[in-house]
């Protein structure tokens, strides 16, 4: 990552299906990953459902794009912050989320978890460190 890299945070607030925001947001992250910026994603409110495991869209006639989140590591998007309060309000915990990992090139390609649970205060601090915040 060059010195000119900006810190980008993509904030996902909506449930994965029903609107196109989640899928479009994910595609923008994948496209933007080509530009070598310092990218992270945040999942708050109904956005936490995007990472829920065991998604099945057969009845809804929509493509189940949840496997695509597992490709984020290949695109070097390795910081996925999930807000603890949003999970708790929905009766969820980290165990309800998909296991997403990336290979750390600087640490002998060890597999490491991409999902980090943060509380509201920590997320606020993270947001303050960003150059650009995009909401989906």
């Amino acid at each position: 990552m060059g010195n000119g890299a900006k810190k980008f945070m993509y904030v996902n607030r909506r449930a994965p299906y029903g609107t196109i925001y989640a899928l479009e947001g994910l595609e923008v992250v994948l496209i933007g990953a080509a530009f070598d910026q310092d990218v992270c994603m945040a999942f708050v409110d109904d956005g936490v459902y995007q990472l829920q495991k065991g998604q099945d869209t057969a009845e809804s006639n929509m493509k189940n794009f949840s496997p695509t989140y597992r490709a984020l590591g290949d695109y070097e998007v390795t910081k996925l912050y999930v807000e603890k309060e949003s999970l708790e309000q929905r009766g969820m915990s980290e165990d309800d989320l998909m296991e997403l990992t990336y290979e750390d090139e600087d640490d002998d390609y060890q597999e490491k978890p991409s999902i980090r649970i943060v509380n509201r205060g920590e997320l606020t601090d993270l947001m303050e460190q960003q150059d650009v915040i995009l909401n989906y």
Partner: protein
């Protein structure tokens, strides 16, 4: 748009990418390649098959940078580089190989 092989018609989008992923079979790849004056060798098939597996697993066609890295990991360093992949697929490894593999155009390709 559409083309026909052995009496069966296959729909494509305006750039020639197969409309229905499930329609794909190896004959389609050969047909599309011939249209581009390209003969598919085992080396081409390695990449095409890899892309189909990648799509199956992640539901996306990988960007060329991601493809190059993943091919290197799977098939060895001498194949995981742009030079090798562009020699096989001069129209761009992600674009051209995805087309033959029956996948949509890679996300982020213009």
């Amino acid at each position: 748009m559409a083309f026909e092989i052995g009496g069966k018609t296959y729909e494509t989008d305006e750039e020639g990418y197969l409309a229905n992923l499930a329609d794909w079979n190896p004959e389609i790849a050969d047909y599309m390649a011939k249209d581009d004056d390209c003969d598919l060798t085992d080396n081409h098939w390695e990449v095409i098959n890899f892309l189909r597996e990648y799509y199956e697993e992640y539901q996306i066609a990988p960007a060329v940078r991601v493809l190059t890295k993943a091919i290197g990991k799977r098939l060895g360093k001498e194949k995981g580089n742009s030079k090798y992949l562009y020699e096989l697929f001069p129209y761009g490894p992600a674009k051209q190989a995805c087309k033959y593999a029956g996948l949509p155009k890679p996300t982020g390709c213009v």
